[in-house]
């Protein structure tokens, strides 16, 4: 596009300097913090972090919730996306708008709505009590279940969007063709739909998993200090304990987990494709 590369380089330089100075350098300093103990390089901070049972619980919980939210989003997402792409264009637009609506509402407002719904005197418990399923209201809030529900609602739209666009790119009659060749719905899903929407699943899966792992507001409000996740633990270490070393360790773990999730999903997708 540019006549010579120097011009192109010169034009991108300000942005590059800006990014380096204000983002990469501080992140680099923060991350290297945990590798330096008394002036020498060491991974001691990481060993310390994982030797605490509480930290391990938080780490595993974060991993588990991220995986569950991504998994359930994928299952619900496939069903929703399949329905959405089979609708006529006008109602497709409407439903699609409804699905993406949560993305346009502030996460704080959305999460407080769950407080109202899931609370002791909330909507869900009222129904359960009125139906006689329980006498005493369930404690749903400040549990992993509450965090799971909140994260699922927050990130499922991303999965649905990814899968809808992947399905829209499938050849129009691929599914009916498979049906006629004798495939039942299960076989249609495995051999055709999944095979043709892998990229969408990888993108959606990465977004949902990474998003769930790094969300702060939802676990903070719905989980509280009882159900800590890495992100809320990080915040707590910094604000309560002024412990920047742990914060740095957690930040590094989150980065590594995000990248690994993406690589892993990509690997799975390409492995199945080349078969």
């Amino acid at each position: 596009m540019f006549e010579n590369r120097a011009v192109g380089l010169a034009l991108t330089l300000p942005a590059a300097i800006f990014a380096a100075a204000l983002f990469l350098v501080p992140v680099g300093i923060l991350l290297s913090e945990a590798f330096r103990i008394d002036g020498s390089w060491s991974i001691g901070a990481y060993i310390d972090f994982f030797s605490s049972a509480r930290n391990r619980t938080v780490f595993l919980r974060t991993l588990k919730l991220g995986a569950f939210v991504a998994g359930v989003s994928a299952i619900v997402g496939y069903a929703a996306a399949f329905v959405i792409v089979s609708l006529p264009p006008t109602s497709r637009g409407r439903i699609f708008g409804l699905v993406t609506l949560p993305l346009m509402i502030s996460p704080v407002a959305r999460t407080y709505a769950w407080l109202v719904i899931l609370g002791r005197t909330g909507f869900v418990n009222q129904i359960l009590v009125n139906l006689g399923i329980t006498d005493t209201p369930f404690r749903i809030l400040f549990s992993e279940t509450a965090v799971f529900i909140g994260l699922l609602q927050l990130f499922m739209p991303l999965m649905i969007i990814s899968l809808v666009s992947a399905m829209e790119n499938m050849p129009k009659d691929a599914v009916p063709a498979a049906r006629i060749l004798g495939a039942n719905w299960f076989q249609v899903f495995w051999r055709v739909i999944l095979a043709l929407t892998r990229e969408g699943l990888v993108i959606g899966g990465t977004l949902v998993f990474t998003g769930s792992m790094t969300a702060y507001i939802t676990p903070a409000i719905l989980g509280g200090s009882k159900v800590l996740m890495l992100e809320t633990l990080l915040y707590q270490r910094v604000t309560v304990a002024n412990d920047f070393v742990s914060a740095s360790v957690i930040a590094m773990i989150l980065i590594v987990m995000s990248f690994s999730a993406n690589l892993l999903l990509k690997r799975i997708a390409t492995a199945r494709k080349s078969r």
Binding site: P171, L181, G182, L196
Partner: protein, 319 residues
């Protein structure tokens, strides 16, 4: 076996749009019938209903003596070559053709697939991906994929539309041979009347979601029942008799340069051996073609013409 495929009062709709209404059709075993008709008349919709891909708004579909109206497409033993091919882009040509055979654990899979590819002349393309093939080649893979399943009924939705003239003729002959060899019942959709005439045992002419006329190619070609049917097989000049019926002429039967009628030349085109004219006249639009040996007429010129009764076809309806 007569009534091998039977469509009984079939009504099909997309939401509020009725695409096919109260259609009755019987197809004998081993017959090759063509569904002929203009774009949007409901040919594809009817095929989808036979295959089970379309919920029935009304009526029934019978195949081989069984009411299949509620049987899913995977259990109907019907083959369908889609207008859009619908190949699986993630699978090789070989795997595309093998798709259905694998699902039913065909013992001689490799042989069956290669025979199918041989039939459509694509054996050497087995390892390619469909995206690396031309439109015509993709269409032939789609044909092979359906044929290897040995379905009870093979539905073909304009399977030759993307082939060049030569290949089209080859494939047409190949299809006819296949049909005679295997005795498979075929329903072939086209909007090309010459293709329909050449292939069919029986032609079903459709119009706006209903059947206009059913007959042998000879009947359809020489004895159309209505103005619509006449126009479709080339009787392009229609003279109503004022009582609902009328007569129709092919362009070659219209005599130009003499006769009791006259009209103004609106269009003229050279077509090799003959010149084609469109005339506006008091009795309506007249389409004529005459040998190039005759002197040419100019656009705008007023020309006398005749519609000889002995070359006309009698129509029960002119609409």
């Amino acid at each position: 076996m007569s009534d091998f495929v039977l469509l009984e009062n079939l009504t099909l709709a997309y939401g509020k749009t009725i695409a096919v209404e109260a259609l009755n059709l019987s197809i004998n075993q081993g017959e090759l019938i063509t569904l002929l008709g203009p774009s949007g008349c409901g040919k594809t919709t009817t095929m989808r209903a036979i295959a089970g891909l379309m919920p029935l708004r009304g009526g029934k579909v019978w195949i081989d003596g069984q009411d299949v109206s509620r049987i899913p497409p995977s259990k109907r033993q019907v083959g369908l070559v889609f207008q859009s091919y619908a190949l699986f882009p993630h699978l090789s040509v070989f795997e595309n053709v093998a798709f259905g055979l694998r699902l039913r654990s065909e013992p001689n899979l490799k042989q069956a697939v290669m025979d199918g590819l041989e039939m459509v002349g694509l054996a050497e393309f087995a390892d390619r991906h469909p995206t690396d093939l031309s439109g015509g080649q993709q269409q032939r893979v789609a044909l092979a994929r359906s044929v290897v399943m040995k379905p009870k009924v093979l539905l073909l939705d304009e399977p030759l539309s993307n082939l060049d003239a030569r290949l089209r003729l080859d494939m047409r002959t190949e299809l006819q041979r296949l049909q005679k060899d295997t005795g498979i019942t075929m329903v072939f959709v086209t909007h090309d009347q010459s293709e329909a005439l050449a292939l069919a045992d029986k032609i079903v002419l459709m119009r706006d979601g209903a059947i206009e006329q059913i007959g042998t190619p000879e009947q359809i070609y020489s004895a159309p029942v209505s103005g619509f049917a006449a126009d479709f097989v080339g009787f392009e000049t229609i003279l109503p008799d004022g009582k609902g019926g009328g007569q129709a002429w092919r362009p070659g039967a219209v005599v130009l340069g003499q006769g009791p009628y006259n009209g103004t030349v609106r269009g003229a085109s050279f077509a090799g051996e003959r010149r084609e004219y469109v005339l506006d006249s008091k009795i309506g639009v007249v389409k004529a073609d005459v040998s190039v040996a005759h002197p040419a007429f100019e656009i705008g010129q007023t020309v006398d013409f005749d519609l000889p009764p002995e070359t006309a076809v009698q129509l029960a309806r002119v609409d």
